[in-house]
């Protein structure tokens, strides 16, 4: 690996997102294509960060900073990737949001960042999202998975509505549905017919990966 690429790899792995645009530019100036930068430096760097996290060497902020470094660098080469005709490599598309009536955003944002870090294209719908919007955005973005966050037992019930709408519109088989949030349980997920559930980001991402790898 050239020096420029290895610096970029390390920057992503170490989560050094500030100024990473400059390193991308250096790699481009050194004659690397956007695809080389993505595959040899960025993706590998993020993979290494993920491995360190799995081994317990990294904390959550290490991983989230690596994800931030990745997305900052990607923004620089996005345009070139398209002109180079490279197909967007993605681990799948994940539509995520906090359900109607609920404004708890923190957990959902962690999950979104971790998903991005593990290669998902993430469409974050924000908080207080109406059930039908989950369905419509998932269709619009050809998502693989819909993730619904609820932090209150009082708003959890709306998670069920998303699944009902999917069924009504004959779309239930098109998407996997993962429900999440501190009060969500296995029996709740089962009762409402979700495909899976998670009460922390790490297991959530692991479960999401399993769905797209199948």
């Amino acid at each position: 690996m050239s020096q420029a690429l290895s610096r970029l790899h390390d920057a992503v792995c170490n989560g050094s997102f500030r100024g990473i645009e400059g390193l991308v530019q250096e790699a481009l100036d050194a004659g690397h294509t956007a695809l080389q930068i993505l595959n040899l430096a960025l993706a590998k760097g993020l993979e290494e960060a993920g491995a360190r996290f799995e081994r317990g060497e990294y904390f959550l902020p290490n991983l989230m900073m690596a994800a931030k470094a990745m997305s900052t660098a990607m923004a620089v080469i996005q345009g070139r990737l398209a002109t180079e005709g490279a197909a967007q490599v993605s681990g799948g598309t994940f539509v995520i949001g906090t359900i109607q009536g609920d404004i708890h955003s923190i957990g959902k944002e962690i999950v979104a960042a971790m998903l991005e870090a593990s290669g998902f294209r993430v469409i974050d719908l924000g908080v207080d999202v109406k059930p039908h919007l989950f369905v419509e955005r998932a269709v619009e973005h050809s998502a693989d998975i819909i993730g619904i966050s609820a932090l209150m037992t009082t708003t959890m019930t709306h998670q069920q509505k998303v699944i009902e709408i999917l069924k009504e519109r004959g779309l239930r088989d098109r998407f996997k549905v993962i429900v999440g949030g501190a009060p969500v349980t296995a029996s709740w997920a089962q009762r409402i017919g979700a495909d899976d559930f998670a009460t922390d980001a790490v297991s959530g991402v692991r479960k999401a990966r399993r769905f797209v790898e199948r």
């Binding site: 996290f53 317990g56 904390f59 959550l60 902020p61 009536g101 404004i103 923190i106 957990g107 944002e109 962690i110 999950v111 971790m114 209150m152 037992t153 009082t154 708003t155 501190a182 009060p183 009460t199 922390d200 980001a201 790490v202 297991s203």
Partner: protein, 468 residues
């Protein structure tokens, strides 16, 4: 009666100075609302993107003046609390929709019946000095559930009460209406809690709720809940700064609406699991943060209300006992006026009758640490020594022994304490602290309920819930 200080004077001052700097120059996000207009009229600077800079002078004018001791009125006047720094009081946790079933020990959704039962239990626990809706029922419409839980509290306790946390003007108005049903002009009953969003965000609905609540004149609890590394820095000092700044911003807003409004300074700092990002449970910093915010509260001449009786434990076990006791003791010694958390488990996601009884006992035990030790001739009891050593009497028959007992010099074992000997314990079926706590809760709930409102008041309260 603070005996413990974690922050040095310099530390308190630095947090205060940084707070003024944040408020003035970084600013606070304030959604379009009556409160925003009032802030602008009072010299706050529009920094763009909803941010308002609150100038130092305005903070000084509104917040750096002493507040008369806050009296939280109970329906039983004897149970009213005066928060003047002379004592530390316990209150329950709030708004939990999952309970540990008293009979099966399993988790299940909370019902209105649980809200009533919990209110009765809180009323009966001597060290739960302030009661609020611990349980949020799920067997009714969410909009009604919050109010119904507050009504259950009002019906079944004579202690000072929290009417719960409100998120918009309408909820605030309904709480004020409920308070009116049970209050007299000289004895307003009920406290309202309102949470902005950390960091430094006061959306329109929250601002309107603050307006309504402040106008009502009821005591207010501004409850920012900064989660470290997300809503505030991970450094505990930085998290304290976030909490302090949001508390003061809340105070400025409320005091501009109503200069007479009674406030409390709070600590609700949470720490997520830094490897999984899972929900905030309880770690030693809960106690440290509570102690520090109690110090900050004194700096502002405000009573404090902090987390402490919290645990991440899922059942009433040793972990629960350790975390709750350790995190309550520090703020208690640092002079906190109120400590929150009675009855919660699982980082606040579970409510437990048994744990409520246990927590009451823990608090009784810890409170004894606050007892002032008086060293004077009477308590040294030289005369007693003379009579015992010189004249062959026994200490137990000395008048001073009774005096000491009456003065509360000795802690009396609580409800969950084991009987004195192994034999006694074995003969009694080897019951655990958990068994004893459960028996107390069961016996209490099997007895006739004590009601604190007449039929007319009850009908009026129920009508407010129905109208929601």
């Amino acid at each position: 009666m603070a005996t413990l200080r974690i922050l040095t004077e310099e530390g308190v001052h630095r947090i205060h100075e940084a707070t003024l700097e944040l408020l003035a120059n970084t600013g606070v996000k304030v959604g379009e609302s009556r409160v925003r207009q009032i802030l602008l009229r009072n010299g706050c600077r529009d920094l763009g993107s909803e941010l308002l800079g609150i100038p130092r002078e305005l903070v000084a004018e509104t917040m750096l003046r002493p507040q008369a001791p806050l009296v939280l009125q109970g329906t039983d006047p004897g149970r009213s609390l005066t928060l003047d720094g002379s004592a530390c009081y316990l209150q329950n946790f709030g708004s939990v929709s999952v309970v540990v079933d008293l009979d099966s020990g399993d988790l299940r959704d909370a019902t209105y019946r649980d809200a009533v039962d919990m209110a009765r239990l809180l009323d009966a626990l001597p060290h739960c000095h302030h009661a609020g809706p611990l349980v949020l029922p799920v067997d009714m419409h969410p909009r009604k559930a919050k109010l119904a839980a507050a009504v259950a509290t009002l019906l079944y306790t004579g202690k000072p009460v929290s009417l719960g946390a409100v998120s918009d003007a309408q909820e605030a108005e309904l709480c004020v209406e409920m308070s009116r049903v049970v209050s007299s002009p000289e004895r307003p009953i009920g406290r309202i809690s309102i949470s902005p969003i950390s960091p430094m965000t006061f959306p329109t609905d929250i601002c309107e709720a603050i307006h309504v609540a402040a106008v009502s004149g009821l005591p207010l609890l501004g409850l920012p809940c900064p989660i470290r590394s997300m809503g505030a820095p991970l450094f505990l000092a930085g998290a304290l700064l976030g909490q302090n700044t949001e508390n003061l911003a809340f105070g400025v807003m409320a005091r501009l609406v109503n200069p007479e409004v009674k406030l409390m300074h709070t600590s609700r700092i949470g720490t997520p699991h830094m490897r999984t990002g899972a929900k905030a449970g309880a770690d030693p910093d809960v106690g440290v943060a509570g102690a520090c915010m109690a110090q900050m509260a004194r700096y502002y001449g405000l009573p404090s209300n902090v987390y402490g009786m919290d645990t991440g434990a899922l059942v009433s076990d040793a972990q629960a006992g350790l975390e709750k006791a350790a995190n309550t003791l520090r703020p208690m010694l640092a002079g906190a006026d109120q400590i929150s958390g009675l009855g919660q488990l699982g980082g606040g996601l579970v409510a437990s009758f048994v744990q409520a009884v246990v927590d009451d006992d823990i608090f009784s035990f810890l409170s004894h640490h606050l007892q002032a030790l008086t060293v004077e001739p009477g308590t040294l009891d030289l005369a007693g020594f003379r009579r015992v050593v010189g004249e062959g009497e026994s200490f137990i028959i000395q008048e001073a022994t009774l005096e000491a007992l009456n003065a509360g010099d000795v802690w009396t074992p609580g409800r969950i304490s084991a009987p004195g000997s192994w034999d006694e314990w074995a003969a009694d079926g080897r019951k655990t602290a958990h068994d004893r706590a459960r028996k107390f809760a069961r016996d209490l709930l099997a007895s006739d309920p004590v009601r604190y409102r007449d039929d007319h008041q009850e009908a009026a309260l129920n009508a407010i819930v129905e109208a929601a």
